[in-house]
């Protein structure tokens, strides 16, 4: 019917306006009618009544005048008659103009006729009086004048009566009209109100109804029931909105199911990955109850996912160490940076009859607000690495053992031969045997260093940190070499320092090894008459220990690589001894102390080896 909401609303208003106009018009009409009625009464009838009354008065006065005339008062009488004749004429004139009632015209005509006769009779009376005298005049009066007077007077009274009657009638009529007006206005108003209400309800329903329906459907869509369509059939704006809304709900539904399908597929993928991962995964909640274990974890601990869900961690995984680490992770308030020196926790378990090793990593999970939700424990299978590690150390042990055994025989044999001598052995033979002896010692050193290095590298050697007086340690390291230095006339000098000790945090035995190696190298590579200077200096929170020789120096390109295994500076001046492991071991030891070791050197200028330790 109406296309748009605007039209509907406007139509409502228009109708209300029309109804208002209708009621008002009706009321106005009635007011006008009433006013007319009243006007009639006032204007017309009242005028006639007034005229008639005055006419009666006037003619009675005239009659009084005639009587005065007859009584001898001619002047007065004539005056009265004349005056009041004027009066009568005036009022008659007014009445003549005001003929409104039915029958009034005839009465007026009759009055006119009779009055004219009366006036004529008055004239005649005067003439008679003047010619015949008083008595005939009186007789004439009584015979003709008075009846005429009476007739006119009665006719005037009739006039009066007829108008009066009309007034009464018209008053009634007016009253009826008013009554009607009231009733009809009430009726029309009631009808208007009724129509107004009906129309109001209809139009508001036709607008609000669809809006409510729309709201209901939107609510249910918001709750997720995307399948419901909005059935609104109007063609107005609400209808359009409903159509668009249906479209939107449809497309949301489609994309939602698409997304759900994607999510499900992603989740399945993740679940499959987690299930099949070789590392064991255990997920716990805030209260350390297990929420999930994957296949690998099931195998490691010999449990089944369905049996352990919601059980407390310790009930199922009887490993105190892991539980303590878990509690730690869940209780710390901030994300602590892991101390770099922390060892990664490992455990070993028998799984299907084989011994396996696992690293333990624990990470807590948080929700969007940063509140702790739980934790994920990952067991990394490092059995392979551990086995390799063990193989390596077994290998090194075995190798060193295997070397040491024949070396024993050789060292013993040569030693005994050198002591007792062989019959017929000259100096050359003796020299040879000494060479063999030295080489044996060198091999011995090599094997020891190899073993040490291997163990340091795999972290097997424990550093025992103590408070050490580094100056004293350096002096102790130098002492065994004093004889050798003297033989070559090399000066061993400790640089002048302020008095007082310098303490460091170190493992004295290991640092002793480092120092011994550096001193031995210095002596080896310094020609006769040279010098080796030692210096210990504290700067900030570090202590710098340096050994400076006056040897050949080390070319820049070798200055880093000499700290690597088996690398020596190729040089024909290099005295024998050493296998190239010494500096590598020294580097590992210094590293384990958190320090650095390096060399400053120029060819022909000697070398200065420095390493750092943590000051106390």
């Amino acid at each position: 019917m109406f296309k748009t909401l605007r039209q509907k609303l406007l139509s409502g208003y228009v109708i209300l306006i029309l109804l208002t106009i209708l009621s008002s018009s009706w009321a106005i009409l009635n007011f006008v009618r009433l006013s007319d009625a009243l006007a009639k009464v006032l204007v017309e009838n009242y005028r006639s009544v007034l005229a008639a009354e005055n006419m009666v008065g006037a003619i009675e006065r005239q009659d009084s005048g005639v009587l005065f005339y007859l009584l001898g008062q001619q002047d007065l009488g004539e005056r009265l008659t004349d005056d009041y004749q004027n009066e009568f004429m005036i009022w008659f004139g007014r009445e003549e103009e005001n003929i409104t009632v039915f029958g009034e015209a005839e009465i007026v005509a009759a009055i006119k006729e009779n009055y004219n006769e009366y006036l004529a009779a008055l004239n005649t009376l005067r003439n008679i009086y003047l010619s015949q005298g008083e008595e005939p005049a009186k007789a004439y009066y009584l015979e003709t004048v008075y009846p005429l007077f009476a007739t006119v007077r009665d006719e005037c009274k009739q006039l009066l009566e007829i108008n009066h009657q009309t007034i009464v009638e018209r008053d009634s009529a007016a009253k009826s009209v008013a009554q009607n007006a009231i009733w009809s206005t009430v009726v029309v108003s009631v009808i208007s109100i009724g129509l107004g209400i009906v129309w109001g309800m209809y139009s508001s329903n036709s607008i609000v109804g669809p809006v409510l329906k729309l709201t209901e459907k939107v609510k249910s869509i918001a709750q997720g029931k995307l399948g419901e369509k909005i059935a609104i059939n109007t063609n107005d704006e609400i209808g359009v909105l409903a159509v668009e809304f249906n479209k939107m709900a449809q497309s949301v539904k489609e994309s939602q199911s698409e997304n759900i399908a994607k999510l499900i597929s992603e989740r399945r993928k993740s679940e499959a990955i987690v299930e099949e991962i070789a590392d064991g995964i255990i997920v716990v909640d805030r209260e350390n109850r297990i929420t999930m274990v994957n296949k690998a974890a099931e195998q490691i601990f010999g449990i089944a996912n369905r049996n352990v869900i919601n059980k407390h961690f310790l009930e199922v995984i009887k490993e105190e160490s892991i539980f303590l680490a878990l509690k730690n992770e869940l209780l710390t308030d901030q994300a602590d940076a892991r101390d770099l020196n922390d060892e990664i926790m490992t455990i070993s378990k028998m799984v299907n009859g084989a011994k396996k090793h696992y690293t333990i990593e624990i990470a807590r999970t948080e929700d969007e607000d940063g509140k702790i939700e739980g934790a994920v424990i990952v067991l990394g299978d490092v059995t392979h690495f551990k086995e390799i590690d063990e193989m390596k150390s077994d290998f090194v042990s075995t190798v060193s053992h295997e070397f040491r055994t024949p070396l024993t025989s050789i060292e013993m044999g040569i030693g005994l031969l050198l002591e007792s001598g062989i019959a017929g052995a000259g100096t050359k033979e003796k020299e040879l045997m000494q060479v063999v002896d030295e080489e044996v010692k060198r091999l011995k050193q090599l094997v020891t260093e190899l073993l040490d290095l291997s163990r340091i590298e795999s972290g097997k050697i424990q550093m025992e940190f103590k408070l050490v007086d580094i100056v004293r340690l350096v002096e102790a390291a130098i002492r065994p070499f004093e004889v050798q230095a003297k033989e070559k006339n090399i000066k061993l000098e400790m640089k002048d320092r302020k008095a007082g000790t310098i303490k460091v945090h170190a493992d004295p035995d290991k640092i002793m090894l480092v120092l011994t190696n550096l001193v031995a190298n210095a002596l080896r590579y310094t020609p006769d008459d040279g010098s080796v200077k030692f210096n210990v200096e504290k700067a900030g929170n570090k202590v710098y220990v340096s050994v400076q020789d006056t040897g050949k120096g080390i070319p820049v390109k070798y200055q880093e690589s000499i700290f690597e295994k088996f690398t020596q500076v190729p040089s024909d001046i290099a005295r024998g001894g050493g296998a190239g492991l010494g500096l590598a071991i020294a580097k590992e030891i210094v590293k384990a102390h958190g320090g650095r070791i390096w060399v400053e050197s120029e060819e022909g200028e000697g070398s200065k080896f420095t390493f750092t330790l943590a000051a106390v």
Binding site: P406, T408, E411, M412, G415, E419, K444, T448
Partner: protein, 126 residues
């Protein structure tokens, strides 16, 4: 003459130890494995036992414990010889009851010095 029991499974090493000690004036008896070591010790009651810790059949530690368990051999000083030189090995050996520990390879003088240290002569320690 003082007697030394040498327990060592490697023939070459046994030979050189024997020669070395004999030259130093000791009587030397040898054993190749743990079981015969204990037997020999009970039988000949040496003044010192040189014990290799890595032996077939019965390892050195057990041999030592066995020796210390036997009244006959309890008081004989035992010096361990071994290619291993770890603190752990040394500690274990001391716990088993050895009085000293020589690391292979060693020179003849080192061997002699150690033996002299622990062999008690009639006049007391030399």
């Amino acid at each position: 003459m003082k007697k030394v029991l040498v327990v060592e499974d490697e023939a070459n090493i046994r030979l050189s130890i024997e020669i070395c000690l004999e030259q130093a004036g000791y009587a030397v008896i040898t054993a190749e494995d743990g079981i015969s070591a204990v037997e020999q010790a009970i039988e000949s009651k040496p003044d010192l036992i040189l014990l290799d810790l890595i032996l077939p059949k019965m390892n050195g530690y057990l041999v030592c414990e066995a020796l210390k368990g036997e009244t006959a051999t309890r008081d004989i000083p035992v010096v361990a010889i071994s290619a291993r030189a770890q603190e752990g090995d040394i500690k274990k050996a001391r716990e088993a009851g050895v009085v000293d520990y020589i690391v292979k390879p060693f020179a003849p003088e080192e061997l002699r010095r150690t033996v002299r240290k622990y062999i008690i002569t009639e006049e007391g320690k030399e």
